[in-house]
């Protein structure tokens, strides 16, 4: 049965050592970031003993760097801290919008983007936003760091591509070209504190004439994992992101969705709403890119 233990390593190597040791002995170790999913699960669905490996003391995981070539967001950085970073907000308003939707002020004081991604809920709000901006997971393992696009990271409901002994150190995001912007919208029946019925993240680039030259569209809560919808992006590229293009992108999102019916919404409703959200998010991204 074993007992609970808690460790807070101060280096990535030390953290990997703990994970590796547990993996080789068939013992369970689990990463703790903000704990806003983990502690809820610990108190209800999964009480089995394990070693909790807190990554909040890792320098690398606390790093936020809005650099000249790329942006790095450490896996331990709370969304409230991201929200106070004006440079980051300016560069990726859609991502910060998504992080800002997670729970309450209290939850945002702890919750991380990486935790949202690793937890791999179909409705995780930051996942479509990360996919839209082309974010890449930086994964630490004993054999060195490996990288994986966010759209390939989540493998199913609650599952991800991490192997035993690996953890996510942070997310790397390529710098957006000039006249590029992102946006994220979700629909919930209330104004705060609820789980997305559907969500859509869009990033797009305009040229000097206002024609869209590149786009990425991702939708959430309408399939087991967030989806990258290339057909929706194709509908925007080459257009001025006018009403016709927005309608075509919306239709592509509705077609790509494979939602379920639950208490939050029916299949038909979710299909429709995800299209509307895509349309609205794309219009916001367009207006931001023009500004």
């Amino acid at each position: 049965m074993g007992a609970f233990a808690y460790v807070a390593p101060t280096t990535v190597a030390e953290a990997l050592g703990v994970l590796e040791e547990h993996a080789s002995q068939g013992k369970r170790a689990q990463i703790l970031a903000g704990g806003t999913d983990l502690l809820v699960q610990l108190q209800s669905v999964d009480r089995t003993p394990r070693t909790i490996v807190d990554i909040k003391k890792l320098e690398e995981a606390n790093r936020v760097e809005v650099g000249a070539d790329e942006t790095f967001v450490g896996a331990a950085v709370a969304s409230a801290v991201l929200n106070e970073n004006e440079e980051l907000k300016q560069r990726f308003p859609g991502l910060i919008e998504a992080a800002d939707l997670i729970g309450s002020t209290q939850i945002q004081g702890r919750a991380t983007i990486a935790g949202n991604l690793c937890n791999a809920s179909p409705a995780g709000d930051t996942i479509p936003a990360l996919i839209a901006i082309g974010a890449v997971c930086v994964i630490a393992s004993e054999s060195g760091n490996r990288e994986l696009a966010v759209e390939d990271f989540v493998t199913g409901v609650g599952t991800n591509a991490l192997q035993d002994g690996e953890f996510l150190v942070g997310l790397k995001i390529p710098n957006p070209p000039a006249r590029t912007a992102d946006a994220y919208l979700r629909f919930i029946p209330r104004t705060e504190m609820d789980i997305a019925v559907a969500g859509a993240g869009v990033a797009l680039t305009l040229d000097d004439a206002g024609t869209c030259t590149a786009a990425r569209v991702s939708i959430g809560a309408v399939a087991p994992t967030a989806l990258l919808v290339t057909a929706a992006a194709d509908a925007l590229v080459g257009t001025s992101v006018d009403d016709d293009a927005l309608a075509a992108a919306a239709a592509a999102c509705s077609a790509a969705a494979s939602p379920i019916t639950d208490k939050r919404g029916t299949v038909e409703y979710r299909r429709k709403v995800v299209g509307v959200l895509c349309k609205r998010a794309a219009a916001i991204a367009r207006d931001r890119a023009q500004a």
Binding site: F4, A8, L39, D54, S104, G109, R110, E192
Partner: protein, 159 residues
């Protein structure tokens, strides 16, 4: 089960305690340290009754492990009043009758403290969004919002 020794500061005072690795800070505060001002409503991060400040940041103590308090500064409702009496936030909650059963009140006062530390003059929308994670089943919120507005005004006046 092996307990872990934790050294922390609570309301400015050095505190040591022993806890199990999976115990929450809320459990430690209430059960080990008998500081029962911090309340438990849900234990799942939804209600905000357990709100405390951890190194000045507003969090739910039901979603923090006791061991995570090591080397940190924890501020609970017991640390809000000054030596010479109630904090203006507490005073305004009384004056505005912003509580009935009172279970939500410690969390709301700690959350309001965090709000007014950050935003000196919040508008109503800012207040409502900031406090959206503090549920109250009794008051209907309106009196709470008025109390927070009064406290903001008083604190701005004092400053």
């Amino acid at each position: 089960m092996s307990k872990v020794q934790v050294e922390t500061r609570i309301n400015g005072e050095g505190v040591e305690f022993l806890c199990e690795p999976q115990q929450t800070l809320l459990e430690v505060l209430r059960e080990t340290l008998s500081r029962t001002g911090t309340k438990e409503g849900c234990a799942t991060g939804d209600c905000g009754a357990c709100s405390v400040l951890l190194d000045g940041r507003l969090v739910c103590s039901c979603l923090v492990l006791g061991v995570e308090a090591e080397g940190k500064e924890v501020t609970t409702i017991e640390g809000i009043a000054g030596n010479d009496g109630l904090h203006p936030i507490q005073q305004k909650f009384l004056e505005r009758a912003a509580l009935q059963c009172g279970i939500c009140t410690p969390g709301l006062i700690v959350a309001t403290k965090a709000l007014l530390d950050k935003h000196k003059n919040p508008d109503e929308e800012t207040i409502r969004y900031w406090l959206a994670g503090n549920l109250c089943r009794c008051t209907g919120y309106d009196k709470i919002i008025r109390a927070v507005q009064d406290a903001a005004e008083e604190l701005a006046y004092e400053a």
